[in-house]
Symmetry: none
Subunit: 191 residues, 4 copies
DNA sequence: AAGTAACCGAGACGGTACGTCGTGTCTTCAC
DNA sequence: GTGAAGACACGACGTACCGTCTCGGTTACTT
């Protein structure tokens, strides 16, 4: 995200911008957040944003990342030894998260990614991939203890578990719910 | 989509606008298609667009619909009597469609829908719902002939089948493929 | 100054812009008048200014012109029959005018003309030439009644009369004054 | 123009700046010369300019001065004993100079002076006053040898001689010329 | 000879204005 | 009374410079 000399960069400005970007996107949605509004809120010149980021989506994504880097917000997966229970816990957490304003911002980023491959890649690298990996790790551990077939296709499993959630979220056919999670689990992980 | 007197409406203008909208969106993507560019390309006044549609997404959606109303483009589902084979045929068709420019426009509409509930509803009514219904019909028929459990949750089934495709399409983790279709079918419809 | 269709032009906007431009230039000087401040004060979009004028100098010049088109503000010259007395009256009027805020604006335009030939030409056409012609007319009439040699070089005369005033005004060596006017007249029009 | 310790000042930088300023102003005109462009061209930090000068006009003025300090570029006046001939020589020199690019820069400074009294004063002190004094000296010598009335108003004379030249130069009514010089001399210094 | 104060190049910073683009509304004229 | 044409007020865009402010790195005076 950078070209000029990272060394001389003002951390004050950087943080003020990320904070403002997060706030604006949460309050008004990504699409009506503007570089000008971020700059004004952060008390910063527009050029300072253009210098270090290439689009408002890039700023907001980094803001989201910063936010996610807080305490227990990581991509970690529960592991009690019971795979089905752990998936249920985690997926219910996702359902809960999908109803928060920060998730609306994330949705906005996914929307922006449809028109800009750079954002698509960034969203993947920063948000999706780490969570998918955490999930795959958990599944692999389940495989080792025999809770899952040794030859199960784990990538497919991830898509079967989360695909239906994103389907509802993005196509807005109906709201995600715990019931959906339970149904998916029952279908995908038969006892 | 109409308020003024539909009777006096110029069909020439309407068609020119839809054609222009479809072309612009295909060439430049929905997000850099503008009402002005559609009007200019259609040789029409901007007001004529604003009079009959409420956003560029509405125009483009109608253009897509018009396009889809051509010959065999409908939402119909194959029915050879073999459910698995029919699903396979249809889903491979979806994979093929997802690689066309018109589908990029559709993706743009889904993106726009994240920020505008009206668009979300319209996209659902016009594109998604008819196809889901066609699919549900097919599944119901399979149920009647005993190819599917009588108490299977058909709505869930639809989400399990198509969720993974949209997951890849919209999150752009990797390209959709026939292999994915086969894997999903194998997992969701065990022999 | 126009390219789009003059017919559809809004006279309300035009007048509001000229009024605002005149006021801004009078209060803050031409060089710290901006297109944005004119637009804001006139309650007008910037584009409306850019559409009809090619620089802020052009706007302000037209504003000055409009202002000058008021009642007795014309370029007319006194004619009592006594050339020396009439020149004295007129030139003292110029001295008086040179101390007004509107003249500061005019000075700003002359300054702008040094870097832009279009403005130079416009300033000449709109402000200088008419006044020079009025002066030449008066001198010609004096020639006809024998108050001036028949072969006197009238163009030269104009430059000898007004050159010293503009010299002081623009080079700011010292303020213009009635005393200067009298001295110039005495030297250039010997009894 | 200085406040910090003149002793430690880098002469390399100073000269590079003046050279760059002169070149930029000659090539692009004073009004589109910027402090940044001077700094870049001189290979110097902006601060080094701001430290020693208070505006780009000040830099360019000093550059012009440096340029004028070359060989015979001074403000000296010819003195052959024949006042009319000497004025003619000198004024024709001015006409010639007025057509050079350096004079365009000087015109730019006069323009800038209309909006900034500091520049006005500086231009006067550095350029105009020395030349006026040289002229007055010459006129005074002519007075002493009886080529000019003892009670002639020499300041007025200067304005009558040079006013018409600056009038044409700055109002751009028509180009200055040797013919104008001759006519002015004939009118102001009658045989 | 070491220490230290300053100027130096570089360039990031908060700002202001630029000139352009697209929005959605409003006005004018032709059919 | 629709429709094309396009002017209008508005808001954001991304860029250019402004003048100020660090940041090392050389000088060149001081002790």
């Amino acid at each position: 995200m950078s070209t000029p000399s990272e060394a001389r960069r003002s951390q004050d400005s950087r943080l003020a911008i990320l904070e403002a970007a997060f706030a604006e996107a949460s309050e008004k949605g990504l699409h009506s957040t503007t570089i000008e509004s971020i700059a004004a809120r952060a008390g910063v010149g527009k050029q300072t944003i253009y210098r270090w980021w290439k689009s408002k989506a890039a700023v907001v994504l980094e803001a989201l990342e910063e936010e996610a880097a807080r305490p227990g917000r990581g991509a970690s997966f529960p592991d009690t030894g019971d795979l089905r229970a752990d998936l249920r816990t985690q997926m219910r957490g996702v359902v809960r998260a999908m109803r928060t304003p920060a998730f609306a911002t994330y949705r906005g980023l996914i929307a922006a990614a449809q028109a800009d491959p750079e954002i698509a890649r960034a969203v993947n690298d920063v948000i999706i991939a780490p969570r998918v990996h955490a999930c795959l790790d958990r599944l692999r551990r389940a495989q080792q203890v025999g809770q899952l077939d040794g030859d199960a296709d784990l990538d497919l499993l991830v898509e079967l578990l989360y695909g239906p959630l994103y389907y509802r979220l993005l196509l807005q056919t109906e709201p995600v719910s715990n019931a959906q999670v339970d149904a998916v689990l029952a279908a995908v992980l038969p006892a």
